[in-house]
Point group: C2
Chain length 204, copies 2
């Protein structure tokens, strides 16, 4: 894959908007030189300022081990061009690969270094966030739910600029993936506007 991202920093106050609409994310991690990446359909913001996100990571995964050890993770927001990569890294465990090969190398997934923590970020995504884990032992154990705080955020300006997503025909490869199950995804379509209703009484 030779992908030229058009990456620009995103204000931290806008970071939660990167996952506000419920896209599947790729969770990348690194500890002691060992990298990994998995898909997570289940994440959500819990706060805009500071930008905090909850993400479900099964405690038995290699990713959970790395994140527990390093106290950090990155959230990558893939678009349509990375649907197969997303399904694959969500289906195959690092434990099933040959020794000394990580998923990035095994599947030829290109990365670049995160600006704050140097975490491996997946090239070709629509957006990226480096995050510090806020350790919450109970929710990690009971619900596989991890709380993180975003400390750096980037987006591809072709689809997210000035704090706003803009899905259009000309950036279809970057439309975010919303997992329906079993490798089937809905793509996020072009924005529609909504309006405040008048009280029903006035309409009668």
């Amino acid at each position: 894959m030779a992908i030229e991202d058009m990456r620009q920093p995103v204000l931290l106050e806008h970071a939660s908007r990167l996952v506000n609409h419920g896209p599947t994310v790729l969770v990348s991690s690194e500890h002691a030189g060992q990298r990994n990446v998995m898909a997570a359909a289940w994440s959500m913001p819990v706060e805009f300022t500071p930008p905090r996100i909850a993400v479900v990571i099964d405690k038995r995964t290699v990713t959970a081990d790395r994140v527990r050890a390093s106290g950090a993770l990155a959230l990558n927001v893939p678009g349509r061009a990375l649907a197969d990569v997303t399904f694959t890294v969500g289906s195959v465990s690092a434990r099933d690969l040959p020794p000394d090969v990580d998923k990035f190398a095994y599947y030829g997934i290109e990365t670049f270094q995160g600006p704050m923590l140097g975490l491996p970020l997946v090239s070709g995504c629509a957006a990226w966030m480096e995050c510090r884990v806020i350790r919450e032992a109970h929710t990690e154990e009971a619900y596989d739910t991890w709380f993180v705080e975003v400390i750096s955020a980037l987006a591809d300006t072709r689809v997210f600029e000035n704090g706003r997503w803009s899905m259009r025909e000309d950036n279809a490869a970057l439309h975010t993936l919303h997992h329906l199950g079993a490798g089937r995804f809905s793509l996020a379509g072009p924005p529609i506007a909504s309006r405040l209703l008048e009280p029903a009484q006035r309409r009668l």
Copy 2:
């Protein structure tokens, strides 16, 4: 609104799929005869079996008061036809309405009774779930994050059947809403399939 839903029960083992793809939901609640409804862009499954969901409800809202008192809430999954309703109940607090009028009545939002708890469910949605709250004082306080367990689930069979979402041209009014911010929504598009990648070595 005169809406004829085509509602059928959803197996509880499929309930988490109703929000797997990150739609904005309507949180409806009732306590001591007082009803309310608000929009929540932030929710996610945390478990398939039993079906458990995390949802962010600001602790200062009327909904949080009702949910705390009743120990229950309903999650309604609106589609495109309810975009204005969703934006409106997410923007206007019950506290700003005239006394003795709830948001349903004020805005002419039709409801039906949930099958297990009798909670007010919003007519015209794509799916509905009645849920019991699993009280988690710390995450409610620290992150406005509530954990619930689904005890009944329904869906409109025109868009969700046999455990699967199916967004098509002929059910566009039921395509789920994914909040981009400020009342702008992406709609979930028709499913695309993905495939498992071969190792990069074999592709070289």
